[in-house]
Symmetry: C3
Subunit: 309 residues, 3 copies
């Protein structure tokens, strides 16, 4: 009996290290399987998605993951064209989609939406991003990428740069990293520092420092995790342009990095990473996207098969 | 040889009682089948949908039904983004989609659209809602739900409440009920009474009374079928609020009902049924949604397999 | 080893006659296969589509083609709702979709977009229409239709009528016809003549004349290829109405044609061909749509199977 069977996935905080490692093991297994054997894992199963906040990238990642293990996907990618527009409650929409599918994938602007959904859903619910902090499948993908590319997570120095205030990806990653013995450097403009109310909990399990300067840390990092900085977040454009320039990862910066430092990004990127980096051995963000498909497939396979696969 | 094979489904009026019962029998069969056997029924077959009027719920019900029997779906869920926008005729759009699929599912604002479509289609056409009165697969779903939950249809007292003027669901259900020996109570605000030109035909085969008061009938009903009342239908808001309040199904009303009265709703609901009803044994609208998937799967299986399944 | 294996399809100009004929041979094979054998060709393979310019028709043709050979499709049919809106580059969008799929289908307004996409894509890229001239799969479909319906292409007289200036379909067809020994009559209003800069290359390999009069050529044609004339292309409405009337293919015109002249149209049509033509033996535009599905399936099957199928 596998502990993920029919389990909801709300938050990375709910997943102890052993469970993360189990997902990684099954991800490795999926990557080694022959495609036709892989398609047996969720053959004929249906994933139902409900995206109350559009996210083409995350939706397609789940869709591709489900297809790779033999299942299919259906749902609503843009809730504005659905019954919810007619005033239907989230509860009813969730309930119905859960009748039509074997597992539900929910994206929503509100914190707690997936927990609420699970109360009415007939089927397990996976949170595909909610509120300001939760994006558990992204964190699993990120942790797996670090482990796969660095052969370990413990002992690493990890820099996270960009908008640390508004990106839910970063909060989930930090909670995930809290399971490991790592040193984290948070690097952001003053106005986009991580929210102090959120770090309270993170501080208990994770060593991290905060800074506005990438230069200060660049030569000590094993992993540089870059996030997007959105212009709209800045009150005046001048500050944006200043910040933007100093945080762009280009070949100059690369020279200052450790030779085996890997560069990650949850994507989509705008210009935080210069395209000239793409073909260097340090760039691992496209591998990260591919691992995202496989980690999601592993998770779906575990949730939908009583005895694993 | 099965009489549904390659047959169009335009209207519930075309389906005699024996054919309805046959669909019910095959629905039971589908529900008892092992999922992997179920997926053999329409393995590799393609459903093509054309929704000229958006209806996420109905489209997903067909999509989920087709997936459950091993087929796949493709089509246009929002015709505004398609070639029709370039001025293409309904006939051409239908013709092409029928070339791409094994069965066509059409939703359209106009009466007669599915009959017209069938004239040019290479493949059988299923009406997924058209004009003011036709929604045959919803009526099949509703009749099956009553039969499944009450073990019979004949002899029942059935109340139908809400907007009886504009909802095509109600007209189709009444025609379907005309095949059985039932007593129907139509309950609606004066301004949303059933259209008299439409009842002319229904009167010939169905006993029904009309009333504005639910209280009057509540204690005698075996089935209470609730429909949505849309604010936009009322000339002034005051009348809307008055009506709305008096027709909401809540725990108070439930106490007046027969202990085994079942409550149905085609969904989506707004607030016609209070959420506190959802967990009572009387609430059967979510089961109704599930049966909708299975009745559609049965119908598709019969249409696409010469000798049934 | 099959020369299409993992190959990109950018332009009809890249496909020599032997390769076109090979696709035709495999299209015939697909049409003869039993559906269940056909579904083995790309079983479990995933087509990823990226439509930067909406084209429901072309997208559904690829989707139906992929389904018929056992694969599935996912992607973005309307790029305006995707990450590209957040400023993501074409390169990144392509790169990610190529990670999620086995073959990429790209529609884009810009010339050269598919070549550019192939440089970053992990998987082969098929151009589903780009810029002003390239639509290779449409040309393959058109050539196959002529060959199938006329039993040959060499020796035919082919009239192409309508908007020859803006329709990319016509340019691709002309390049495709350049592989055969045919006589082409280009017929268009003066203002919608084929662009002279584009004909420079075509002239080297294809005999064609230009004219504004259909009457002049109607009785000598073996194939009449009709294209849509869009009102928006004309500076004043009067000229549009004059042209529109004189180019409509109706029963009167049909009487002047050779008895076995076939009428083609890439669809969607508006009123360039009168519906009364649809049921004549000369109308082959719906067959053309069906062949489009099968030629695309053949191409996908060749690209995704090292040793053909």
């Amino acid at each position: 009996m596998n502990e993920f069977y029919q389990k909801d996935i709300f938050s990375i905080k709910d997943l102890p290290k052993e469970q993360l490692e189990k997902i990684f093991t099954f991800t490795d297994k999926i990557m080694q399987l022959d495609p036709s054997d892989r398609r047996e894992i969720c053959k004929g199963k249906t994933l139902g998605y409900l995206f109350f906040e559009p996210s083409t990238r995350t939706r397609l990642s789940f869709d591709a993951a489900m297809a790779s293990i033999g299942g299919n996907s259906l749902g609503i990618s843009d809730i504005s064209s659905s019954s919810t527009q007619k005033g239907e409650s989230l509860a009813d929409t969730v309930k119905i989609m859960s009748i039509y599918s074997d597992v539900l994938v929910l994206r929503h602007t509100l914190d707690g939406s997936s927990r609420f959904a699970a109360e009415v859903s007939e089927k397990p619910v996976i949170n595909a991003g909610s509120g300001t902090e939760e994006h558990p499948t992204q964190a699993i993908q990120d942790l797996f990428t670090i482990k796969k590319e660095k052969k370990k997570i413990d002992g690493l120095k990890i820099g996270i740069i960009g908008d640390l205030k508004y990106g839910r990806t970063v909060y989930s990653l930090l909670h995930g990293l809290g399971n490991y013995d790592v040193d984290v450097r948070l690097i952001s403009p003053e106005s986009l520092r991580i929210r102090s109310d959120s770090t309270y909990e993170i501080k208990k399990k994770l060593n991290f420092t905060e800074s506005t300067s990438l230069d200060e840390h660049i030569d000590e990092l094993d992993v540089l995790y870059v996030t997007r900085i959105q212009k709209e977040r800045f009150p005046d454009e001048e500050e944006y342009l200043k910040v933007k320039g100093s945080y762009v990862v280009g070949l100059d910066l690369l020279k200052q990095m450790k030779d085996d430092c890997i560069i990650l990004h949850p994507l989509p990127r705008i210009d935080e990473i210069s395209p000239e980096i793409d073909n260097t051995k340090n760039a691992k963000y496209f591998e990260q996207a591919e691992y995202g498909k496989h980690t999601r497939a592993a998770l779906l396979g575990l949730i939908l098969n009583e005895n694993g696969f």
